[in-house]
């Protein structure tokens, strides 16, 4: 019983990590209808920026805010410079561009910062809670993820920019006719996704330790989480991320040897998706002829 609880709670802690990156994937998908394979590596690179600032002596939250701003601008710049040229090309061209970005960020980080494992400070104290089921740091990660979720939710629901962004992604031609600056919306979408990714990276780094390959595993889980929740839904992304974390732990503990736990968890998730092809909270893509 104690083990079951511990597995569930450590699944939740891991799930919060997946959820935070899944939010960035949802953001970019809603803004541009594209899955960004470089999202994890961009988040990792942002985390290195924060790490440099903290090491230079800045207070944690100061470094946090500067990193967010830099990431936002960086994300916009990437959209303008790299993504825009393939905007009207086949979707595969855009996919390849994001794969290219993944390689570039991974390689650059290794070149600049080396592949050595680095410690990253956590803003939250490190104390066990509920009879060592969780630490205060895990709670901190979950709390920050929920804050980001709330901000995102409000952004899409209550702001004009959020509405315009949704319109621009769903139907660029009509949105343009309504006077929406579609290009600007895409750029802001990329900027916001990069900033959310930066938050994810900074939350993840104290737990997983910082190295250039920190996010390559996480991206896979985040992608799965975002899809099971419904790639268009921020709430879904968070719940999906938590589901992935807990499912994987339970499968590995009670169902099958730990070597195959992710494989089996993926199969279970795909089986669920067979009955809900748009994820648990996603909206069906409506097509008109």
């Amino acid at each position: 019983m104690h083990q079951l609880l511990q597995q569930i709670f450590s699944g939740l802690a891991a799930g919060a990590i997946y959820a935070s990156l899944a939010l960035a994937l949802v953001m970019i998908y809603r803004a541009t209808n594209l899955v960004n394979f470089a999202q994890g590596e961009m988040a990792m690179f942002s985390t290195y920026i924060a790490w440099t600032l903290v090491n230079a002596g800045l207070p944690f939250w100061g470094a946090f805010l500067i990193t967010l701003a830099v990431s936002f601008l960086g994300g916009m710049a990437i959209e303008r410079i790299v993504i825009r040229p393939v905007e009207n090309a086949p979707i595969l061209a855009a996919v390849v561009v994001t794969i290219g970005l993944l390689l570039i960020f991974n390689s650059l980080a290794g070149w600049i910062y080396s592949y050595t494992l680095q410690e990253f400070p956590s803003p939250f104290p490190d104390r066990p809670l509920f009879g060592a089921l969780m630490t205060t740091r895990d709670i901190g990660v979950i709390a920050v993820t929920l804050v980001v979720l709330a901000v995102l939710f409000c952004f899409f629901r209550f702001t004009t920019t959020g509405l315009a962004m949704r319109a621009a992604a769903q139907n660029p031609e009509s949105a343009r006719l309504c006077g929406i600056h579609v290009g600007r919306m895409l750029a802001i979408g990329w900027g916001l996704a990069a900033a959310i990714g930066a938050v994810a990276g900074i939350m993840v780094a104290p737990a997983l330790f910082l190295d250039p390959n920190m996010m390559s595993g996480v991206l896979l889980y985040a992608f799965t989480g975002a899809l099971i929740g419904g790639i268009t839904s921020p709430v879904g992304a968070v719940i999906g991320g938590l589901i992935v974390g807990v499912t994987e732990n339970l499968v590995g503990t009670y169902l099958i040897a730990s070597q195959l736990k992710f494989t089996v968890a993926l199969i279970l998730i795909i089986l669920v998706l067979l009955f809900r092809p748009n994820g648990l909270f996603g909206t069906a893509i409506v097509r008109r002829v």
Binding site: V82, A93, V96, V97, G100, L101, L227, L260, R287
Partner: protein, 360 residues
Amino acid sequence: MSESLPVGAAGKLAPIRASVPNAAKVRWPCNWPWNWPWNWPWRWLAGAALIALAVVLPFALSNYHVFTLTQVMIYAIAVLGLNILTGYNGQISLGHGGFFAAGAYTAAILMHRYGVPYWATLPPAGLICFVLGVLFGLPALRFEGPYLALVTLAMAVAMPQLLKYFDTWTGGQQGIVLVKPLPPPGLGLDRDRWLYFFVLAVLLLAMRLAANLLNGRTGRALVAIRDHPIAAVAMGINTPRYKTLAFGASTLFTGVAGALAAIVVGFVAPESFSLFLSLSFLVGSAVGGIATIGGAIVGGFFIESVPNLANDVSDAAPWAIYGLAMLLFMYLMPRGLVGTLGPWFVHAMRKFRSARGAPK
């Protein structure tokens, strides 16, 4: 049925364009070189010249370069397979590295444990991958876009783990070391050159089969499903059947390529089939030309040689150079080399010939 599509003279772009709504956007497919608007003597001469070059080339090159070209052709077959699914049918697969692995291990296990001769491993490898592909294609019918990507990604992620888990068959992490096949006596070819010609023959056969499949009714149906699924259904195209067929045919090609890779490299291990391999195939498919047949060769060249060139440029960050090459390529030719230059070339040929007053 797809008969309702207008059927024009073979080798012209116009009918396909007319059949697809949104025609302005669709400048492809361009099934280079089969749809070039030139008449048979030229077409056959050009084809013969290319094949002659491919036959002469290995005698002018060192063993190492012959081996590299063999690898290029193997990747070309795999990319061709992916292109059937992704390029023609619009289903993006992140899992073809997994099917490549399945083909490679089928060949390796048959050769290593049952002493099957290497050439006889290709049909079973293709068949197993075809069945796997159809099995994957069935649930994939319900998924679109990123959801399909997840299902196929599961394949790519699961495959190395499964290979490690069932280690009595696969040799686990140690992999399987294979004895390289001997060339048939009497030809005077060494091992590398013999394998080159063996793979070349498979590549030509694969391109021919792909052309037969894609340049007719099936190809048009696949493209119609890609470009406008609802209109395709309205036209009476049996979408599930074609989509599953595309999946199976695609994985068949890739599986055969995997078997060839096992034979030529002489070693298989789970590390050979990382997720990155699946991404490489996608890159090859996009760089060569989406929905082109000849583009697969360009794609094969790209994923084989550009990482090496990148390593020559920079020891420190080879992937950064490789990634930059991808960005640059997509920036200059968003439809891939053949997809971009092909129509341009077709256009130039038409102009050239009409200027000379040749009959259309």
